[in-house]
Symmetry: C2
Subunit: 397 residues, 2 copies
């Protein structure tokens, strides 16, 4: 029988993708340079040259049988070892290769992590605002996704609501810091309190609760902001990392799970990931891509443009009277819309060729997201449009 | 809760992997060139040079933002178009890009296809002998895997047993021709009869039954053998293709689903695959690998060595009095063991440094598989060991 649930998903299309498609269509009419497309979180700076260089070197010098050969079930040992060494050096946590499992990007990381630490019927809790794909990622495992309402003052954690949502069926907490869509970085205080609550709940309930820490924006943190290492605050932590944003290779689908060596059954959980792959069609990331990222672990793209863009946009938003928490990282900003209905707000903005994403699909009403991974020159031109939009449509604020 | 089912899978290791690990260990003792390792189906001929050349060219000349950028949910349109054009030309079936979905190898192809055309509680039927990974591939979808006992005379289809196993919960038939492990190619007669039965059953039961045709060995067909195109015999056919064997890039995880344009809701099913990806962490194969294979669609590695090896082994097996159906393709051969217990037989062979895989995990008892994707020179040396093994251990056959 054709699986109706997937058929139905086709009609419930992603708002972000729809906005992006509109932007593309509009670009054909007026020139893409005139569409201020803040819809997609697609890196706007190239991969470090070393990434291409290392691939070319391998293609020219390595035995193709080895280079393109099967990756072992647990992914390539030398790659796992290099990732472990790099993380150990940087975070002073005793990672070994047995704590690392290479995956095809963040989606695959979460697909494995969630299946490893939860069983169908349990629940996984996340915090609004959240990346909308968390819903299919988690619900497809058979777990229930519970959403803690946002703390819209700070976009840190609404602890009061959170604590009351944990029960004996809570398998994991899925967090994302630096955060998409808010751009906020969880403070050490937030992470300490989160860890304290989970430790207390584990003891009270007699269960294991894991943190699944989705960290694709770990390298994009702005001046003066400290991004604390989540694993330092809680033993049962699985880090889901992707190189998509740090080295601008989102299409190459490469990342890893790094489990805290102090996590309960850490090595077993990583070994289980190899078994999970068998059922979901994963079977390791591309061999050459695994080998290539292992050579550029200490590099990033030139990520400064994101901070430049953020400052320009944030300052203009402030000047225009928006309410907005200043991002600490990522390439997102999440201001309050100028009317209650964020969808109506974003629709009006489209008249000015500003493509903004309403916050509804992120689990909060009344906000909008701007993904400012675009050229700074375009950001500057867009601010003129933004001012015109606000002054024309909301003259009496 | 740590998912026990995956933890338990860790102790039920693959026999093939175990044999292969033994071969590696033994190789350390006596030199790998002295271990006649027929355990793993890992291609033994390099990728065509054009594959590396096209990647190097792209890495040197393409904008890295485009080259490594996000692939659209439905995978890269130009790649889908080229695959459709190539298949249309070759098989005279009116494929369009809307019938193609690029995937991370055969495992991902089956993961998507099975989820698209079945719902949990239905059953999917396959034929012994079968690739053991079909079990986790199918069972993880929530469908039941039903195994039709082998026709050990020909390793074509045991139709009598098959027909009685189809019921109103049968969603799909999973076939693999050329076949791993038997090396047999399904004849036009077999495929015609299979199609006829399914058409009849669809009408009787008022259901849709799909064929999922796993075809990673499509290009490895021996002289004088015709490998009929499965889709020509049955409309509701989803071809699962992988480039792993044809161009020897198993580690790069690249393949596609090609749905017969005549299939019920063909384009919808392909679109559904993009939705299925969201839940299983797939999110497209590597962009550069998609783009690279699209440039070498008409090429294969030099596959002749497999036929050379097959002939050497088959002739020796015949000479030694084995019962064996002559393979029509692949790089596998599946002779009858010289005692009922194939595991005992293969264990004895290990004393002669012959690494053979007992048939039990392929769903048949009393046979063994040899994966002859190894150097011909080594095959020749192995035959001396094979003769010694047989003459010493089974002197009174």
């Amino acid at each position: 029988m054709i699986a109706l649930k997937y058929k139905e998903m086709l009609s419930a299309k992603s708002v972000i993708r729809e906005m992006s498609q509109y932007a593309t269509e509009r670009g054909k009419e007026i020139g893409y340079e005139n569409v201020f497309d803040y819809s997609l979180g697609n890196p706007s700076v190239p991969a470090p040259q070393e990434f291409a260089d290392t691939m070319i070197h391998m293609l020219q010098n390595e035995d193709p049988m080895k280079l393109h050969g099967y990756s072992p079930t647990m992914t390539i040992p030398s790659v796992r070892q290099k990732v472990a060494d790099s993380l150990k050096e940087r975070f002073k946590i005793p990672y070994k290769m047995e704590h690392i499992f290479m995956v095809s990007g963040a989606a695959a990381a979460i697909a494995h992590a969630a299946r490893a630490v939860s069983v169908p019927g349990e629940n996984i809790i996340t915090f609004a605002p959240f990346f909308p794909e968390y819903r299919p990622y988690i619900e497809s495992t058979g777990a229930e996704l519970r959403i803690v309402p946002a703390d819209t003052e700070s976009f840190q954690i609404n602890f009061e609501a959170f604590e009351s949502m944990i029960d004996d069926r809570t398998a994991a907490i899925l967090i994302n810091t630096p955060n998409n869509p808010s751009g906020i970085v969880y403070s050490a205080e937030t992470l300490q309190k989160l860890g304290d609550i989970l430790r207390k709940k584990q003891e009270e309930l007699g269960t294991d609760i894991f943190i699944i820490s989705d960290e694709p924006y770990r390298e994009i943190v702005f001046d003066g902001v400290e991004a604390p290492c989540v694993s330092k605050f809680y033993d049962n932590t699985l880090v889901c990392y992707s190189f998509s944003k740090s080295i601008s290779v989102p299409g190459e689908r490469i990342g890893y799970i790094a489990i805290n060596p102090a996590c309960k059954e850490a090595e077993t959980i990583i070994n289980m990931c190899g078994q999970i792959s068998r059922g979901i069609g994963h079977n390791c990331p591309s061999s050459i891509i695994q080998l290539a990222v292992a050579e550029v672990l200490e590099l990033t793209s030139d990520l400064n443009v994101y901070e430049t863009n953020m400052n320009l946009i944030y300052n203009e938003l402030m000047d225009l009277g928006f309410t907005c928490v200043r991002p600490g990282g990522t390439f997102y900003i999440f201001p309050k819309a100028l009317e209650e209905d964020a969808v109506a707000f974003c629709k009006k903005a489209m008249k000015y060729d500003l493509i903004l994403v309403p916050s509804d699909s992120f689990g909060v009403k009344g906000y909008f997201r701007m993904a400012y991974c675009i050229d700074t020159e375009k950001v500057k031109r867009s601010l003129v449009a933004l001012r015109k939009f606000v002054e024309t449509e909301y003259p009496n604020r």
